[in-house]
């Protein structure tokens, strides 16, 4: 053989060689299509697999870990929560509405494939600067797409985060998280039992939409990517709901042996992956697949990513009942194949065989790379969202205004009010608090969800930055008195073939792995999104985490804001390292010589949660909020956002470094609001738990006054117009979005 094998499906030449070697022949068109999908980065995790092993998914509560559609963690004596997060970055950039909507639909299918009824959605969105009209459109349409799917299917979108940063203009991030509730004895698996099973297709008919989507999401964009639109799938939440109800009913009646949703690489990946987990083979007859267009080629049927489809492996005796349920639910269903003992993936169209590949070639033998990594010599590209500023020359008040005036510092109401966050009436803490809390309706328990995906600490230090994200989640969860029970992640990175990106990735994975191990949080599911790169420019390292916490009493949920004047305010938690490196202030100022990323005080952080549980159990706290984006000042403003006229009067001691005090985002600190007569008890409890406790002031009507002494002991006072501060916060995002002609 002399010619370099080229691929019609953009399989790299060395991998084509490998395929030829494995098969001992040239793959035909259908086989090549199958390889292109299953060997894609998206399906095979070929660049990340060896690193993901560093995560620990073990824990006494873990019922299902990686390898399933979603992880499941036990939360009451008989129920579990199934949760997972996934990216839909590439499709959302090409077609924001459908891309985002199908992202939501896809993650929901992962949840109900486990037998869990979805009860909450959240999302993490990252865009370029809103100064660009294109970003404005992307943002508007992504939000509308998420709303269209979540609202219609009736699963509340209870929280999320958003970030605008020039460096994401060509590669926006749309990560969706879903959580469902499942009876422990009703958990479904994607691993079939060793029985002769039939493959039943359930859901929407297959069309040409999304053909090769997984491969598309596994490479970088280039300037001329105008031909990719057909690779984006189209969402249909109405069919999605019918498929969800039918699937849950089938699982409830115990009719299925294994279920997987047809997500990336559709029928191919779902059938091959399930067969592979049982070390068996599977035969699919494309002629029996319900099609929208009968002229579709077998390879198109195999690679289609048409939405709202599930693949079930079932015993023959159950087929009739399943088809009856499908017909009653008005969704298509058909027997499309069967499990075979010979471990091959065989594709037929009637009698003709179109592909025959040993299953291990597609899974275990898929490439697995230990890609070279090299630390960055230079810091990442500047953020360039503002002209370089002269840090240090601004007053604290001016800096605070700048933080609030950027859309990143504003209220996110414009987003959250487009999401039905209450349908299902389980939402105990809706958007606008730090974490979302959802009622489990069992044993008085509730579950809290914290999202953390701020990339700036990682651009300063990928390893330490990633640890900060974990610590932030845990602090958020502690603020409502919940303890972390499980984590899922979506690792958004650039091109793994670049050693710098790979180095960022490895450090971030190790950071998350170490921090979660320290805190005993199992990482039960996850997703990697590489190739967030356009024309050679990669996004900053952006792992996005979602951590679930358990609350033992839903009646003690404490809000993240208050309406009441005259409450005392205190700051609890460790303040040993309040470095500003990687903070929102650092990002705004673009400091060319940034400070270091704060080190987490793990010891104190570990005691923070039991302390918070203790004081919340006594009902002593009126509001509580973790110090988050923008530091103490912005968190204070959010804490009093319950009422338009409520402000604060603070009196602080001598401050070594006022900038750090007011703007540090070091995790592990929580702001509390409580009745003044609780002060002594709280101080005593804090002492008992060895948690630093500092009374800082009170909530006060119509006031924004902060007194402190500077390094030299001089009295300083920061007084601001409360009404204007609230206005800045309210309009910095919403104002941009509503000024339409």
């Amino acid at each position: 053989m002399t010619a370099v094998p080229t691929s019609r499906f953009r399989i790299p030449a060395p991998e084509m060689e490998r395929i030829r070697t494995l098969l001992g022949r040239d793959p035909n068109l259908t086989e090549e299509a199958v390889f292109s999908a299953l060997w894609s980065e998206h399906c095979s995790y070929k660049s990340s697999r060896i690193h993901l092993r560093k995560f620990s998914s073990k824990g006494p509560r873990v019922l299902m870990g990686p390898g399933e559609n979603a992880g499941v963690v036990r939360v009451t004596s008989r129920t579990g929560i199934a949760f997972k997060m996934e990216s839909h970055n590439h499709p959302s950039y090409i077609e924001p509405f459908q891309g985002a909507a199908t992202g939501v639909g896809g993650i929901l299918r992962d949840i109900f494939a486990m037998g869990a009824r979805p009860v909450a959605l959240t999302n993490s969105l990252v865009f370029g600067s809103l100064r660009q009209p294109r970003q404005m459109t992307l943002f508007r349409r992504v939000v509308a797409g998420i709303a269209a799917y979540g609202n219609a299917i009736g699963v509340p979108t209870v929280g999320g985060e958003v970030w605008f940063d020039e460096r994401y203009s060509k590669n926006i991030l749309v990560n969706a998280f879903a959580l469902g509730v499942v009876d422990e004895d009703g958990i479904m698996s994607a691993v079939p039992p060793p029985k002769p099973l039939l493959a039943v297709y359930l859901g929407n008919k297959t069309g040409r939409d999304g053909v090769s989507g997984a491969a598309m999401a596994s490479r970088s964009f280039t300037g001329g990517d105008t031909d990719l639109r057909p690779q984006v799938q189209v969402a249909d939440p109405f069919v999605g709901k019918k498929v969800m109800e039918a699937t849950l009913r089938i699982i409830r009646e115990g009719l299925a042996g294994a279920i997987q949703d047809m997500g990336a690489a559709g029928l191919t990946s779902s059938s091959v992956e399930m067969a592979s987990k049982a070390s068996l083979g599977i035969e699919i007859d494309v002629e029996r697949v319900p099609l929208r267009d009968p002229s579709m080629e077998p390879w198109e049927v195999l690679l289609s990513e048409s939405q709202e489809r599930m693949l079930l492996l079932v015993e023959e005796s159950r087929v009739e009942r399943i088809l009856a349920i499908a017909s009653d639910s008005q969704v298509s269903a058909a027997v499309v194949g069967r499990i075979i003992t010979d471990p091959v993936f065989r594709v037929r169209k009637g009698e003709a065989v179109f592909a025959e590949i040993p299953v291990p070639f597609l899974t275990e033998e898929a490439p697995c790379y230990d890609r070279p990594a090299r630390d960055r010599a230079l810091p990442l590209s500047p953020t360039a969202h503002h002209a370089p500023s002269e840090a240090g020359r601004h007053s604290i008040a001016e800096l605070f205004h700048r933080l609030l005036d950027h859309p990143n510092g504003g209220a996110a109401d414009w987003i959250s009010r487009q999401f039905d966050f209450e349908v299902g009436t389980r939402t105990l803490l809706p958007p606008g608090h730090d974490v979302a809390v959802v009622d489990l309706r069992e044993e008085e328990r509730a579950v809290a969800i914290s999202m953390a995906g701020f990339s700036h600490p990682l651009t300063r230090d990928p390893g330490l930055g990633a640890m900060l994200l974990v610590a932030k989640c845990v602090t958020d969860l502690a603020a409502v008195g919940s303890w972390p029970v499980g984590m899922t992640d979506c690792l958004n990175f650039g091109n793994p073939e670049r050693p710098e990106t790979m180095s960022d990735f490895i450090q971030a994975v190790e950071g998350i792995a170490e921090a979660s191990r320290r805190l005993g949080i199992p990482v039960v599911s996850g997703n990697v999104s590489f190739y967030n790169e356009t024309d050679g420019l990669s996004i900053p390292p952006t792992p996005i985490l979602a951590t679930c916490g358990l609350l033992s009493s839903r009646r003690r949920v404490v809000p993240g804001k208050t309406t009441r004047p005259g409450l005392s305010l205190a700051l609890v938690g460790s303040s040993t390292d309040l470095s500003l490196g990687g903070s929102y202030l650092d990002w705004i100022l673009e400091d060319p010589e940034p400070g270091s990323v704060p080190l987490v005080d793990w010891e104190t952080l570990g005691r923070l949660q039991p302390f918070m549980s203790a004081i919340l159990a006594d009902g002593r706290i009126c509001a509580s909020r973790a110090i988050g984006r923008g530091g103490l000042l912005r968190t204070l403003l959010q804490l009093v956002s319950g009422d338009a006229t409520l402000g604060v009067a603070l009196s602080l001691p001598r401050l070594e470094d006022p900038l750090e005090t007011f703007f540090s985002e070091a995790p592990g600190r929580i702001l509390l609001a409580f009745e003044p007569d609780q002060l002594r008890t709280l101080e005593e409890t804090a002492l008992e738990f060895r948690i630093p406790f500092q009374r800082v002031g009170s909530t006060a009507p119509r006031l924004w006054t902060i007194r402190y002494r500077d390094r030299e002991g001089r009295v300083k006072e920061l007084t601001d117009n409360l009404e204007q501060l609230k206005r800045r916060y309210a309009v910095s995002l919403a104002g941009q979005m509503e000024d339409l002609p």
């Binding site: 219609a152 109405f238 069919v239 209450e422």
Partner: protein, 235 residues
């Protein structure tokens, strides 16, 4: 033990506030929720019917229009005509106007986006089966969650519904551009009610005021009174 009043809850494909509505009805001891399918042509022994919110038929074509033509709506129509209580919430309201059981129409919100937020409201008409426990002028807070909630009606009809006192609820800060801030409406006879806000989402006191509970309590009271009247007038 006296039998409870059976309240039919209609489920269309795409309805998604069905379970919430079921729970709200279940909270009232005098009421017994029963499922009604979109295919049912008759409901046995029902005292009232509720059309819950959601996205019936995926809001395809136009919100509520497909559901308004499904078999169950003939039954709902004659039920309403016979003077029995019917409540449509959100998409249920949209279906009732599409079916011509309530006047007017519900257009896309003036801001063109979905809106999920609490709204301050004022109760005006307390003579319907769902509002007997309210006092006219009562302020209340209920959540809205819709994309097509802008109530519109031609000026003549508007004058008529205002004159007849068919307006039930008005928004204090009109969120969607509704004519005359109308958030809830009754038919001429007063037995059919449509609400854009969601009373079934405010029946517990875990968060927010349970302002929605009184709608379901009112229904129970109304049905009890009806029953009493029937018993009294019986020979």
């Amino acid at each position: 033990m006296p039998s409870r009043h059976r309240v039919g809850i209609v489920r269309f494909p795409g309805t998604n506030c069905d379970l919430d509505t079921w729970e709200a009805v279940s909270l009232i001891p005098e009421l017994e929720p029963v499922w009604i399918s979109h295919k049912d042509r008759q409901g046995s022994d029902l005292s009232a019917i509720v059309l819950p919110g959601g996205f019936s038929y995926g809001d395809y074509l136009r919100t509520g229009i497909i559901a308004a033509r499904s078999p169950v709506m003939d039954m709902v129509g004659s039920f309403a005509e016979s003077g029995l209580p019917v409540l449509g919430i959100c998409n249920g309201f949209q279906i009732l106007v599409e079916a011509g059981i309530l006047p007017g129409t519900l257009l896309p919100n003036s801001g063109r986006t979905f809106l999920c937020q609490e709204e301050a409201l004022v109760m005006e008409n307390c003579r319907t089966p769902f509002t007997t426990l309210f006092v006219p002028g009562t302020p209340l807070t209920l959540p809205i969650a819709h994309q097509e909630g802008r109530f519109f009606i031609d000026p003549d009809q508007l004058q008529e519904i205002e004159k007849k006192g068919q307006v039930l609820l008005r928004y204090l800060n009109n969120p969607n551009g509704s004519e005359r801030e109308i958030a809830g409406l009754a038919n001429g006879a007063g037995n059919v009610v449509g609400l854009m806000p969601h009373p079934e989402r405010r029946v517990r006191s875990l968060f927010g005021r349970p302002d929605g509970l009184a709608f379901f309590r009112s229904l129970a009271l109304h049905l009890d009174r009806q029953k009493l009247r029937t018993v009294e007038t019986a020979p």
